[in-house]
């Protein structure tokens, strides 16, 4: 009854977020004095399962064709079946869009309570308490989950990974009876042009805002700078809403929540909505023509100039410094 379940999608790989999730699960299970059970759903190799098994006490793998490609209704029923069988105290998920969307529904089906975007999870007597940002990042709330299990998706990259054990825990393979959902069918999947790695895992992010002024400078100015810095490229909501860049680039309260070592905000004013997505960034730097832009209130360092003048020069300088 004090067990903690952590849920993974095999296709997501064992990236930094997955490691953070495993670490968070490990510590919570230890705090509660329960076991840590990992669930890996998907199809294909067992790469994630074998990594997770070195953290979790035991691992259940549902490796079957129906789960090869994510489908929310199918994955939801798979996870509900697997979690239901374990009667855990808590179910933890990562911060990918798939986990986020099914968290509340999973809780509903398990008769539990859900909360998302947790940055801290701890036991408080009988219940679990989760800390998360609210009001667009202007405040933090501690939320007590009243029904069991507590189903929580975490801002996973913010959690420290757990040290893997020498020997892996037991891995159980199950074959679930799953039916395709008759009501909804995925007819097409498309990838937006982004860099290779996920924004959430990026070390350095170069991000552009409304002040960029159009789609072209993202390609002609920001992209070469990002490439030079080995950075991922992102954007503010204003730039995405204007249609300059795909919505998958959006960082903010309602976009990606990122935690890079350096977040370079170019022509981004810094509305609190945006800042909520980068509150975990270790360093924020900004290029903005307006010295009064709120972004500077969150910056380690900044430069007040037109980015059109700065960026080309900055590329030269960085190239020179890196030689």
């Amino acid at each position: 009854m004090n067990d903690v379940v952590i849920c993974f999608f095999a296709a997501g790989g064992y990236d930094k977020s997955a490691q953070g999730l495993a670490g968070a699960g490990r510590r919570l299970a230890d705090e509660l004095g329960g076991r840590l059970c990992a669930i890996v759903v998907g199809a294909g190799d067992d790469a994630v399962a074998s990594e997770v098994a070195r953290i979790a006490d035991f691992t259940t793998v549902a490796n079957q064709a129906e789960l090869a490609e994510y489908h929310s209704e199918v994955c939801l029923s798979a996870l509900a079946k697997l979690c239901g069988g374990l009667s855990p105290r808590a179910v933890l998920l990562g911060n990918d869009a798939y986990s986020q969307e099914i968290t509340a529904r999973l809780a509903y089906r398990l008769g539990g309570s859900a909360v998302g975007d947790g940055v801290e999870v701890r036991a408080e007597g009988e219940s679990l308490r989760v800390t998360r940002q609210v009001y667009g990042g202007k405040a933090q709330a501690v939320i007590e989950l009243k029904c069991m299990p507590a189903v929580v998706w975490l801002r996973a990259r913010s959690f420290v990974p757990a040290p893997p054990r020498e020997t892996a825990g037991e891995i159980t393979r199950v074959a679930l009876e799953l039916q395709a959902d008759a009501r909804t069918r995925v007819v097409e999947r498309r990838r937006a042009e982004t860099g290779s790695a996920r924004l959430e895992d990026a070390q350095v992010i170069v991000s552009g805002g409304r002040g960029i002024g159009g789609p072209e400078p993202f390609t002609t100015e920001l992209r070469p700078l990002a490439d030079l810095m080995g950075a991922q490229i992102a954007a503010s909501r204003a730039a995405c809403d204007a249609g300059w860049v795909p919505p998958t680039w959006q960082v903010g309260q309602t976009g990606k929540k990122v935690a890079p070592d350096l977040y370079l905000a170019i022509a981004i004013a810094g509305a609190s909505q945006h800042m909520a997505g980068i509150s975990e960034a270790k360093n924020i730097a900004a290029i903005n023509i307006d010295a009064d832009a709120p972004i500077f209130k969150h910056c380690r360092f900044g430069i007040v100039e037109d980015y059109r003048k700065v960026v080309p020069l900055l590329r030269q300088k960085l190239a020179a410094l890196q030689v």
Binding site: G213, A269, G270, A271, S272, A291, D292, P294
Partner: protein, 671 residues
């Protein structure tokens, strides 16, 4: 020779005068119909009250239709226009005198009057008309100013007037020559023709030529009179009429009110949505192009042209007899939405117009249609409007609060001050834009130093509604105005001081309609009063070379020019400099009319044009009196300055610079 007997024989060489009377009838009919047709078009417009206060209106007509003060601002044009009009007026009087004597049996045309006026004066003025028309033609063909409208009609009118006068002199000259007129010397130009003709022609030839030309002259004049109402000559009637029915209030009070309870459609998209006065405006236009010449948007190369708006609407009105059901915004090239969204509502066009056409309100009328009926306006303005609706200020995304500027000043809210003498209205710009917070601080500190018992409204302030109104969202303006008035009345505010000319104009000219009853002062006026009363004793120690930039809504639109200049003068030891375009001719910073919320194309920025002019004065400081001007000019100067540094300072900051050391001194003495 007895001068008392001096006169000439009317008609002399011409018989069958009944032909003239017969021709008069169709001429009068055609002219009358032309005039009627125009006036009947105006009647399609909505109502407007423009016949009150006749004494003021007559005064205006004397100043601007008779004395032509505005026309004369341009020296060359003013000169030839006055030559032509005064000449034609004299000639008309002379013709009337002839008609009286010929048809009514009077004997006015005799003696000294005949010699001094009917001969000499008329001769001189007739010649002056010819000089005037020659100058006008020269302007069209040699000087070719680019804002003028070049039509063959305009040229033909000038040639016709010239020809009519020339004909007159020839007819007169031949009569003098053949009759051996003893008073010939009194008609110097006619006499000149006579002397020349006698050298070349026989009496019989002259007599025959006189007969022929007399009738031809008559035909020309009648033809011209009949044709005139169908051309821009109609301005002879419409211009004085337009001046008579001009808006007598300040330029800042030129937008129309909308009664939301009663109005069917908001704003203008059909000619019949305009008032009769708007339609009269169209016919009053003389195509001089001064409005477009002074238009800031047009000056920096944008498509907006107030002249073209007026003329194209006029052409549409003439072409379309049934003027309703015609969507003018889409149909008329000059009123394309893109050009309507370039107007800064600075009113330079209106100030420049010699015949008092109201171009800017027409633009705002069409904006009203776009905003309120179509919800179609630029994205960045939508953001400002949405922010006004939701937050009561236009600065979408600002992180500043309405009280940030007041930190450490101990400024009190109006509810905490008993019998506050003055409400310091901070305004959104003064509170939420960091640069302007310093201006608000300076103003508050000056008021405190002068011992003024003042208070603020803090978070209860909302935007005065100016940007909403100028963008065209009258409904939102009304909502904001009512909310503000509720608070202002709740605190029984009687005197408002504000550093924002937009708030100033709105309170002064637009709130009274909703029951606003208070005295409104721009901070420059109030501070200048405090200096005059000796309550502020600034000691200028700075050596700044200052030039003052008149905010449109303070200067041109509300005629406050001197108070800010007084402050500038006492704030520095150096004599201030004036820009080429200053006072009523001041050139907009580019930020009015909601334009500060729009990103202008980099090569078409109004603020940079103004910055160039500021730099040309050699001043090291430009003084402003408006939070929008502050932002726009700082940007403009940053883009233009090159090696020279010019600081943008509000007049209150300059005054505080001069007054502050004294405050510090007095504090020290007290300690």
């Amino acid at each position: 020779m007895n001068t008392a007997e001096a006169t000439r024989q009317i008609y002399w060489n011409v018989s069958h005068i009944w032909v003239m009377y017969a021709l008069l009838l169709p001429t009068a009919a055609i002219t009358g119909y032309g005039i009627y047709r125009q006036t009947s078009r105006w009647r399609l417009g909505q109502s407007a009250a423009r016949f009150d206060r006749p004494a003021e209106r007559i005064k205006l007509v004397l100043k601007h239709a008779v004395a032509q003060q505005r026309t004369a601002r341009s020296k060359f044009t003013g000169l030839f226009h006055r030559l032509i009009t005064s000449g034609l007026a004299i000639l008309t009087i002379a013709t009337t005198v002839v008609a009286l004597d010929a048809d009514f049996g009077t004997t006015i045309m005799r003696g000294r009057f005949y010699l001094y006026f009917q001969s000499f004066t008329v001769d001189v003025f007739g010649a002056l008309v010819m000089v005037g028309t020659t100058m006008a033609v020269a302007r069209r063909f040699i000087m070719r100013p680019k804002t003028l409208v070049y039509t063959s009609e305009a040229t033909l009118i000038l040639v016709a007037i010239f020809a009519i006068c020339l004909q007159g002199f020839l007819v007169e000259g031949w009569r003098i020559a053949v009759t051996r007129d003893p008073w010939a010397a009194w008609s110097p130009f006619g006499n000149l023709v006579a002397l020349a003709s006698r050298a070349l022609m026989t009496d019989a030839q002259m007599q025959a030529a006189h007969w022929g030309l007399w009738w031809f002259h008559l035909a020309t004049v009648f033809g011209f009179v009949a044709w005139a109402p169908y051309t821009k000559m109609m301005h002879v009637i419409t211009a004085p009429l337009n001046v008579y029915t001009a808006n007598l209030a300040a330029l800042g009070a030129s937008l129309k009110d909308i009664d939301f309870e009663k109005t069917e459609s908001f704003g203008v998209n059909a000619l019949t949505d305009y008032t009769w006065k708007d339609l009269l405006d169209l016919d009053a236009c003389t195509e001089c192009g001064r409005c477009t010449a002074v238009c800031p948007a047009n000056t920096v190369g944008k498509e907006l042209s107030p002249r073209d708006i007026i003329l194209q609407l006029r052409d549409l009105m003439h072409a379309e007899c049934r003027t309703s059901n015609f969507e003018i915004i889409a149909a008329v090239p000059a009123t394309s939405p893109s050009s309507l969204w370039q107007c800064t509502t600075c009113a330079a066009c209106m100030e420049a117009c010699p015949v008092f056409i109201e171009q800017m309100p027409k633009i705002v009328d069409m904006r009203r249609h776009l905003v309120m009926e179509e919800a179609d306006f630029p994205d960045s303005m939508q953001q400002a409007i949405t922010s006004l609706e939701k937050r009561g200020h236009p600065f979408s995304g600002t992180q500043a609060t309405r009280l940030d500027w007041a930190q450490g000043l101990g400024v009190k809210h109006v509810s905490e001050v008993k019998d506050a003498e003055v409400l310091l209205w901070v305004g959104c710009g003064g509170a939420l834009v960091e640069r302007n917070q310093k201006v608000t601080r300076a103003t508050a500190q000056l008021l405190a130093q002068a011992g003024v018992n003042f208070a603020i409204m803090g978070r209860e302030e909302k935007c005065s509604g100016d940007p909403a109104r100028r963008i065209g969202n009258e409904f939102l303006f009304e909502t904001l105005a009512k909310e503000n008035l509720e608070n202002l009345n709740k605190y029984k505010v009687r005197k408002i001081v504000t550093a924002c000319p937009h708030c100033f104009n709105t309170f002064k000219n637009e709130y009274p309609r909703y029951g606003g009853r208070f005295a409104v002062y721009h901070h420059s006026e109030y501070l200048a009063d405090l200096v005059r009363e000796g309550k502020l004793k600034p000691l200028a120690e700075s050596e700044r070379k200052i030039t003052f930039h008149d905010p449109c809504y303070l200067g041109r639109q509300n005629s406050v020019y001197d108070a800010p200049r007084t402050l500038v003068r006492i704030s520095s030891r150096k004599e201030p400099a004036e820009m080429a375009r200053s006072r009523e001719k001041s050139f907009c910073c580019g930020g009015g009319g909601g334009m500060s919320f729009i990103e202008e194309p980099p090569d078409q920025r109004v603020n940079q044009e103004r910055a160039r002019e500021i730099l040309d004065t050699g001043a090291d400081t430009v003084a402003v009196g408006c939070p929008f001007c502050m932002t726009m000019l700082e940007d403009g100067i940053n883009a233009r300055k090159g090696s020279r540094d010019v600081s943008v300072m509000d007049v209150s900051e300059l005054l505080w610079e001069a007054a502050k050391p004294r405050a510090a001194l007095e504090t020290n003495l007290n300690v």
